[in-house]
Symmetry: C2
Subunit: 205 residues, 2 copies
């Protein structure tokens, strides 16, 4: 595309650096911003720039935070001896939305993927070990995606704490609530049969 303005061209190029935004969508966004008040646009770009400049990562759990310690780690009502290991901040948001978890999180910042060059040193694993010892953790719940990388990471962590007096659990995997058996993939169904639970486990809930 040939723009008659250098400023427009640079703004379109800036937008199209974002994932899932091509040149045409970028131009549509630029045209929308041209109609908005100057102050409004500067408020939008300011909020995004400020986020990137001032964001910090919690010294305990590695989650994004406005301060050295995140709101969850600072919360005195949270059980510091119950740790939930997750891949990224999006998983923290998802689990928080359920309002079912009263412990604290540990954000790994990724999953082990040796083929992509992501080894234990790229993740916040050493940090996890130190934390488990200093906080005298009783249980580590692993809430990782049910993929090869997730399972590899889960296996690695379970080896890390082998021989230590700590309970290691994983979130339940099985048929989703509201799903139909007919359309559930074989691996999920097979696993949900082999990991079946007594009915009173469900009735208690």
């Amino acid at each position: 595309m040939n723009f008659s303005s250098q400023l427009i061209e640079e703004a379109v190029n800036a937008f199209s650096k974002l994932p899932g935004i091509g040149k045409k969508t970028a131009l549509r966004l630029v045209m929308h911003l041209l109609k908005e008040d100057k102050e409004e646009v500067l408020a939008i770009t300011g909020a995004i720039g400020k986020m990137r400049s001032e964001i910090r990562f919690c010294i305990h759990c590695n989650n994004v935070s406005d301060h050295d310690e995140c709101n969850i780690c600072r919360d005195a009502f949270r059980n510091k001896r119950l740790l939930c290991v997750v891949e990224n901040m999006r998983d923290v948001i998802s689990i928080e939305a359920t309002q079912q978890f009263s412990g604290v999180y540990h954000v790994l910042g990724g999953l082990l993927a040796p083929l992509d060059g992501i080894g234990p040193d790229q993740l916040f694993l050493q940090n996890l070990r130190d934390r488990v010892i200093s906080q005298e953790a009783e249980e580590i719940i692993m809430a990782l995606n049910p993929t090869i990388e997730g399972d590899t990471t889960m296996f690695y962590i379970s080896k890390m704490f082998a021989g230590m007096d700590i309970k290691l659990t994983s979130i339940a995997r099985g048929v989703s609530f509201g799903a139909e058996l007919e359309y559930t993939d074989e691996l999920t169904l097979a696993r949900s049969i082999s990991k079946r639970l007594p009915i009173d486990t469900y009735v208690k809930m």
Copy 2:
């Protein structure tokens, strides 16, 4: 969604003010920017903010421009007596991409839509009249969308120049190149029959 960080929340809200971007997409964009270098992110927000702050509109054609006069109006090789009336800057980009037009543009900034409260005073129409006289225009090509608003605007402009020695034309409307008659809508097909042209018009091209 409940974010553990105020900064993240504000950045997500900023992104979701853009058209077609919801909270989930906004969070995905924010997570992408968190992985980018700080300088890179500030370059992106800077380009967008600068565009909105410094953009001007050409004093002749009302197209977006970096200076008082746009590149097209400043170009000495452009025929200033041939004007192409378009709705917005996007249409200028589309027509420029064809490399078939050697005149200058006139951007209306919208189309007449009395029901939406857009009358002649909201568009750059008075400007067009002054320009036609001062530039001694020979022809006005109307490249407006084939909608009710487009036709209304075209009719209004043709009335504006009634009795003046100026050629008023419209871009050809008909069956698209590569389209199939079977799938062309009735209105387009009916119009393309009533406005049929001698075959040598096409052979010459």
